[in-house]
C-alpha cells in the first residue's frame, strides 16, 4: 500500500458551532511538517470519506518557529505546527485547537487576551520619544544581557498558557508569558525605573500569588524561556515592594 500521512483534525465551523472530527490522508513525502501537510489539504481538501470539504482553517506565517502564529495541539502537545515534523510524529497525527483561548474556526483561536495582559503589566521601556537623544541605554553586563535575551525570545505563542493549570476561564490568573515579560522589563536599567507599577499590577488578584508552581510552563516553552526563574525573581521583587509599601510611605 502506498505510504500516506494520516491527519485527524478537530474542526469547528465557528465560535458558536459544535466541534467535530474529520480525517484526511495525503501521499507521504519526506520532510513534511504539519503546516506543509495542511497546505497540501488546501489544494486537495478531500476527507477520508472521499468528500470535497472546506479546507481546514489555521494560522501560520513564518514557518520557521519564530512568529508563534501556528501554535496548536499536535498529538496532545501544544507546539508550533511548522516545527512538528511528520517523520517524528505517530500517526494518525491528531490536531486540535488550543483550549485556553476562544475558537475562531477549526485550528484558529483568538489569543488577544495574551496581548492585553502585556498592557496590564506595562511590558515596555518608557521613552521620552523615539528621537535620538545622542546617548545609548546604560551599559548592560554580558551575563545580564544573556538572561534578558532568554526572556526576550517570547513570541506570545500561548504554549505556556495552554498547559498552566491556573490559567483558565474561571480564573483571573494572568499566566506565565506576561510574567516573563515583566521580569524582562524590570531587569532593564531604565525599564526598571517603572518596576513599582508593574509589581503593583502583579500584587493584585490574578497576579503572582495565583501561580500554583506546577512548572508546566517551562517544560513546553519552545524557546526554553526560564519562566519559573522569572516568577521566582518577581516574587522576591514583590516581597520587597510589599515591605516598601508598608514602611516607606
Amino acid at each position: 500500500m502506498e505510504k500516506t500521512i494520516h491527519l485527524r483534525i478537530k474542526r469547528q465551523d465557528g465560535p458558536a458551532s459544535s466541534p467535530y472530527w474529520e480525517e484526511f490522508k495525503l501521499p507521504y513525502a519526506p520532510q513534511h511538517n504539519v503546516i506543509s501537510a495542511l497546505l497540501y489539504l488546501r489544494e486537495h481538501p478531500i476527507n477520508l470519506r472521499g468528500e470535497r470539504v472546506a479546507p481546514v482553517v489555521w494560522e501560520s506565517n513564518c514557518m520557521e518557529e519564530v512568529c508563534g502564529a501556528c501554535t496548536m495541539i499536535v498529538n496532545g502537545t501544544p507546539r508550533q505546527a511548522c516545527a512538528a515534523l511528520v517523520d517524528d510524529l505517530a500517526q494518525p497525527i491528531v490536531l486540535e485547537p488550543l483550549v485556553k483561548f476562544p475558537i475562531v474556526r477549526d485550528l484558529h483561536v483568538d489569543r488577544q487576551k495574551m496581548f492585553d495582559a502585556l498592557k496590564k503589566v506595562k511590558a515596555w521601556v518608557p521613552l521620552d520619544g523615539s528621537q535620538d537623544i545622542h546617548q545609548h541605554a546604560p551599559r548592560i553586563a554580558p551575563a545580564d544581557q544573556a538572561l534578558r535575551y532568554a526572556f526576550s525570545r517570547c513570541m506570545t505563542c500561548g504554549c505556556c498558557m495552554e498547559v498552566c493549570p491556573q490559567y483558565h476561564d474561571a480564573s483571573a490568573f494572568i499566566g506565565p508569558a506576561p510574567l516573563g515579560q515583566t521580569a524582562l522589563h524590570n531587569s532593564h536599567p531604565t525599564g526598571g525605573f517603572f518596576k513599582e507599577e508593574r509589581l503593583h499590577a502583579l500584587m493584585e488578584k490574578g497576579g503572582l500569588a495565583d501561580c500554583g508552581n506546577a512548572q508546566n510552563c517551562v517544560k513546553v516553552c519552545p524557546k526554553d524561556i526560564p519562566l519559573t526563574q522569572a516568577i521566582g525573581e518577581l516574587g522576591r521583587q514583590a516581597t520587597i515592594q510589599w515591605l516598601r509599601d508598608i514602611f516607606v510611605k
Binding site: I35, E64, L85, R105, F115, A137, I140, R153
Partner: protein, 627 residues
Amino acid sequence: MAKQRVVVIGGGLGGLWAALRLVEAGYPVDLFSLFPVKRSHSCCAQGGLNAVLDIKGQRDSIQQHIIDTIKGGDYLGDQPPIKTMCEDAPGLIRTYDRMGVTFSRTPEGIMDQRLFGGVKNRRTCFAGATTGAQLLYSIDEQIRAKEDQAGVTKYEYWEFLSLVLDDAGVCRGITALNLKTMQVQAFRADAVILATGGAGLIWGRSTMSSSCTGAATARAYQQGAKFGNAEFSQFHPTAMKGHDKLRLMSEACRGEGGRIWVPRKAGDQRAAKSVPEDERFYFLEEWYPTYGNTVPRDVASRAIVRATRHMGLGVRGQEVVYLDLTHKPRAFLEARLGGILEMYETFAGQDPYVNPMEIFPAMHYTMGGLWVGYEKDAQTGGIVRAHPKNHATTIPGLYACGECDFAYHGANRLGANSLLSASYSGRVAGDATAAYLKSLKSSSDKLPQSAYDAEKKRQEEINQALLTRTGGENASTLHHKLGEVMSEHVFVERENKGLDNALAEIGTLKERARKIALDDKSGWTNQTLPWARQLQDMLVMAEVVTKCARLRDECRGSHYKAEFELKQPEGKFAGDPEYEAYKATWKTNNEKWLKHSIATHTSDGPKVEYWPVEVSVMAPETPRDYR
C-alpha cells in the same frame, strides 16, 4: 477642520515605526495587519542591522557605509536617501538600545558588532541570531504603550483591498476586508502608508513568510502607483530546502567564519567529514580572495550556481553546497548563532555543530518596489528630513516604506541593511506624512460618503463573484505553477528566451485565474477567498517583474544575463590596459542602463519607462570588484 487621521497598512518594522512617529506628532493612526503585528515577517530577520559605531579599531566611517551601500547596489539606488540613512543609522540604533532591545554585548557591556557581506569592517549590531524579532518586539511594545494611551487603533485580522481616491486622484482612504466576518469596510484617512513587505511568494517558495505575497503593493500599482526596479530581487545564497519554505541560514554564518565548499570530485558520495581538506573546493575563497566567503549575496549566489549547475560539483550531484561552521567552537556558535542553528537542526534533523549545513540560493528580498521620492538637501547632498516628498509614491497622499518601496538598495541589498532601511524608512515616512498632513487644506471628512460606498461595493462584487463561481481552478495549484515558472526563468541567471516563455506562461495563468472557484463558500473566516485574490495580484506583479527583467539587457547586481555580461579581465587591475578597456565599456553601458525601470499599469500589461538615477554623492567611476 476635523482631526486628521492616517491609515498605516502593515505592522512590521516599517509600519510600526511610521505609526509611532505619527502618534508622537499628535496624529491618530489606524493600523491594519493580517495578523497580530508581532507576527510580522520582520521577525524572520536574523543577522543584524548596520550602523557605524566604529568600536573595533577599524576606523570605520559613515562615508564608508555610504560607499558600501551604493556600490553593493551596483549604483542603482538614488544616493541622497542612502546618504542620510547611513548618517542617521547610529542614532536609530541608540533609540533601539533605549527601547530595551537585547543587543549582544562586548565584555564592557556596550553593543557588539559583527562582520557582514560586502563590507570589510565590523559594522553589524545584532541580538544573537534573532535580531529582527528583537527589534520588532521592542517597537511592538512601544506601539502597545501608545495603544494604551488611545493613539493607535489596531485592526488586526484585516486585509487591505484597495485605495479610495478622490476625483483629483488623491488618496483619501482604503477599503479592507475583515478576515473573520468577511465584511468589506471603507475607512477614511487623510494619508495612507503602505508598509506591506516583499513579494517572495511569487517564486512559490522563498525565505519569506506566507504573508509576503506582494498583493497589497500590486493593488496600489493597479490603481496607478508606479513601480520601480521590479526586476531586482535578491536570491540569498544560503537557504535550506523544504516543501513549504526555503529557510534562511543567516549571512552571519559566513560573517562569523562559515566557509562555503563542495568536494573537488564531482558526485563524491562520501560524508562531508570524510572529505580531506585538500579535496575540498572553497570556491568563494579561491575566486574572491579579498572578500572570500563574505562577498555580497548576488556574487555568492551566482558562484554557487556556477559550482553546481555549470561545473557539476554540487554535493552528491545535487543542487546543494556546504556551509561549514564545524571548525568553530561550540560555545562561540551557541552565543552568536544559536537561534538559527537550532532551527537548522529542527528542520534538517542534522546537527550543524558537527556536520556542515547543506544550502542553496533562494528568493529572499525584493529590492524593487513602489517608486518613492525624496527632497534633496542641496547643502548636504542628503535629504531634507520631515519633507512631504520623502517616501511619497506617485499617488498623492499615499506613502510607502520598508521592503515594499524601491529605495536604498538599488540592484542588490547588502546584508543587515534591510533591518536598517525598514526601520529608518518607516521613521522617515511617518515624519513625511506628518508634514504632508500639515500642508493639507481639507480633510477626508469633506469627501462625500458616496466615494467610499462605491469602492466598497466594487470590492464586495469581486468577492461575491469568487464565492458564487463553481467548478473551476484552484488558487494553490496556480500558485505552484507560478512558482515553477519564476524559479526556472526569473532566478539567479536569466535569458531572454526563458523570460519570453515566462511571460507567455504568466499570461496563461492569468486566464486560468479568472476561473478560480473556492472550496469554501462560507462567510466566516474563509481563508480561501483572500488567498484567491492574493494569487491574482501576485500574477500581476510577476508580470511586472518578468517584463522588466526581459527588457533590461545587461548585468547589474542581482540581475544577470550571461549574454550581456561585461567580464572582468582575470588577474588584471586598475592601470592594466585590459582592465581600463573593461572599465570604459562598463561606463558606456551605464549611459544606457544606469536607470530605474519604472512600470505603470495599463489594461495591456505594464508599460515600462526609464528614469535617471541620482548619483550626486558618488559618481559611478569604478565597477564593483570583490576579488
